[in-house]
Amino acid sequence: MSSVSMAVDFAGIKLKNPINTASGTFGFGWQFQNFFDVSRLGAITTKGCAAEPWPGNPKPRMTEVRGGMMNSVGLQNPGVRGMVAESGEFLADLASKGTAVICQVAGHSTAEYVAALELFEELCPWAAAFELNVSCPNIDQGGAAAGSTPEGAAEVMRACRPITKRPLLVKMAPVRLPEIARALEAEGADGLTVINSIPGMAIDVHTRRSKLSKPTGGLSGPLLHPIAVRMVWEVCQAVDIPVCGVGGVMTGEDAAEFILAGASAVSVGMASFPEPDAAVRILAELEAWAESQGVRDINELIGAFEC
C-alpha cells in the first residue's frame, strides 16, 4: 500500500488518481476489461463521437514511425446513440465504481458539436465530463480545422457551454496554445487536454505515395513527449483552469513530468496498444515516484517544477 494520497481534482471532477486514457486509444473502456480492472484508473476518455455515425477514412490508416506511430482514422465512430447502445451499460457501471467517464465530442461544424453534446447530455447521465475535440488532424472540417485559431476554438466553446452544467473540457491542437487556451478559458472551459496528435507525413519513397490514405496523419508516441511537456507547461502558465497532459506517456516518469509541469491529470495513449495494461503500470510507477519525492499527497507535486 502506498502512503501517498493519489486523489486529485480535475476540472471539478474528483479522480481517485490522476491517470486518464487518451481518446481514441482506449476504445470505450470495455475493450480493456479483460486485461485489467479498468476501474483502477482515475478516469477514461472515450473515443470521439458525433451525433451521427462516421465511417472514418480509407485504408491504410496507420503507419509506424521512429519513436511512435501515425494514424488517419478520421474519427470513425458509431455516433452517440450507437455508443450508448453498445457501451453505455459498461460505462455506467464504471462510473459507479468511481472512475470518471469523460465522453469526447466530435463534429464537423459548430452545429454538429452542439448536436452531439446535446445527445451526450441527454443520454449519458453517468458521464463525469465532456471533452470537445477541436483538434483532430485527420478530418477536413471540424477538428483541428475548427480549433487551430483562438476564434474558431472559442466559437465552438461558446455554442456548447450552455448545453451542460457538467465540466466541459477541450482537447487542444498543438498550435498557438497559450492564446487559444486563454480564449477557451474566457468562454468558460473547465479544463484543457493538451495535446492531440501532431500532424506528420511519411512518404513511401519507393511508390512516392503517402504511407496513409491521406497525405498527412496524426503522430503519437514518445516522439511527442518533450514537445507535449513544453506545451502543457506553456498552457499552465497561461490559464488558471486545470490541464490534462497527453503525449508519449510510456512510464511513470513521463507522467511525472506532466504533473511537475502543472497538469492535474495525465492520459495514457498509444502505450496501451502494445501493452494493454500500460495505464495501471504507469499509475504504479507514478505512485512510486511520488513516494520517492517524500510527499504525502500527489497534489503537492502538481506544478512543482522549479525554473
Binding site: 481514441g24 486509444t25 482506449f26 476504445g27 470495455w30 475493450q31 480493456f32 476489461q33 479483460n34 486485461f35 473515443k47 455515425p53 465511417p55 472514418g56 480509407p58 485504408k59 491504410p60 490508416r61 496507420m62 503507419t63 509506424e64 521512429r66 519513436g67 511512435g68 506511430m69 494514424n71 482514422v73 470513425q76 453498445e86 457501451s87 451499460e89 459498461f90 508516441g221 514518445p222 498509444m270 496501451s272 496498444f273 502494445p274 501493452e275 494493454p276 495494461d277
Partner: protein, 265 residues
C-alpha cells in the same frame, strides 16, 4: 457490454526460426495457453524486441498449432524492419505475444468440398484451414500463387495434409503456370463450381477480390482473410477498419476472416 477480445499477453519462447524460402521464415514459438486457445484463421500479435524506436507488435497468422506440444508455427515474409528483426531472433529468446486475435474460418455445415486459394504469404492461414478440413475429412483442392519458385511455400505441406495441390502459379513462370493463381481458381469455379460448398482465400487484395467475384458467380460461399495495418489487435484503435456492405468493421475483431460477399473490394 459487448464481448471484449479474449486476448491476453502471453510469455513465449522461440523454439526455432529458420528460412524456408527466399525471404520467408518459419518460426515456432512455445506458448501453451495460447496454443490451446487458437482456432484456424485467427492471428497473434508478437512483440519483437531490439528496436526501441519501433513500439508496436507485429500481427501474424499461423500455419499450424500443436495444442499438445504447446507450439505455434508461423510463416512470415521479411518485408521490412520489423520482420527483419524478427528473423534475427534466436531459439531460446523470449518475448510476449498478444492473442488470440480475431475470429477464424467458418466452414459451412455439411461442406462437401472446399477450394482454397493462397497467394504469397497468404499461405499460412490457408494451410491451417486445410489441416482442419483434413481432420474433418472434407476434401479440398488448393491453388497457390507466388512471385517466383524460390518464394513458393506450402506445396509439400498441403500434400502432406491430404490433398494434392491442383495448381501452382508464379508471376515469373519459374514454377507452375506463368501468371496468377486466380486463373485456375476461376476456371475450377466456372466448370466445377457445383461440387464446392466453400471457397477460402488469403493473399494480395486484388487476388482475393477476383476469387470473391468468381465464387459469387458460381454461387459458392467464400471467406477471405484480410490484412490491415493494426495498432492494437483487440478492438481499441480503429486503425484496422475494413469497408463492408454493413459499414466499417475492424479486421482485428470482426476479421481477419470476412464473408467475401460482405467486403467492399
Amino acid at each position: 457490454m459487448p464481448t471484449p477480445s479474449p486476448a491476453r499477453v502471453h510469455d513465449v519462447t522461440i523454439v526455432s526460426n529458420e528460412p524456408i524460402a527466399r525471404d520467408v521464415f518459419a518460426l515456432r514459438i512455445l506458448a501453451p495457453a495460447l496454443a490451446a486457445a487458437l482456432v484456424p484463421g485467427q492471428f497473434v500479435n508478437i512483440a519483437v524486441p531490439g528496436n526501441a524506436m519501433s513500439l508496436l507488435r507485429i500481427p501474424l497468422s499461423f500455419a499450424e498449432v500443436d495444442a499438445e506440444a504447446g507450439t505455434i508455427d508461423i510463416w512470415y515474409a521479411v518485408v521490412g524492419e520489423g520482420t527483419e528483426r524478427l528473423s534475427r531472433m534466436e531459439p531460446g529468446a523470449t518475448t510476449t505475444v498478444l492473442g488470440p486475435g480475431g475470429h477464424g474460418w467458418t466452414i459451412p455445415e455439411g461442406c462437401r468440398r472446399a477450394l482454397l486459394i493462397a497467394g504469397g504469404i497468404g499461405v499460412p492461414p490457408i494451410l491451417c484451414l486445410a489441416r482442419e478440413l483434413a481432420r474433418r475429412n472434407i476434401p479440398y483442392t488448393v491453388c497457390i500463387g507466388a512471385a517466383s519458385a524460390d518464394r513458393l511455400v506450402g506445396e509439400a505441406e498441403f500434400e502432406a495434409a491430404g490433398s494434392p495441390v491442383i495448381s501452382i502459379a508464379t508471376d515469373d513462370g519459374s514454377a507452375g503456370y506463368h501468371g496468377f493463381c486466380t486463373a485456375a481458381a476461376e476456371q475450377v469455379l466456372e466448370t466445377e463450381g457445383d461440387d464446392f460448398d466453400y471457397v477460402a482465400t488469403c493473399g494480395p487484395e486484388p487476388m482475393m477480390a477476383k476469387v470473391a467475384a468468381a465464387a459469387e458467380r458460381a454461387g459458392v460461399a467464400c471467406e477471405a482473410s484480410l490484412e490491415r495495418m493494426m495498432s492494437c489487435g483487440f478492438g481499441a484503435c480503429a486503425t484496422c477498419a475494413v469497408e463492408t456492405k454493413s459499414g466499417m468493421k475492424g479486421a482485428c475483431m470482426c476479421g481477419p476472416v470476412f464473408d467475401a460477399k460482405e467486403v467492399v473490394w
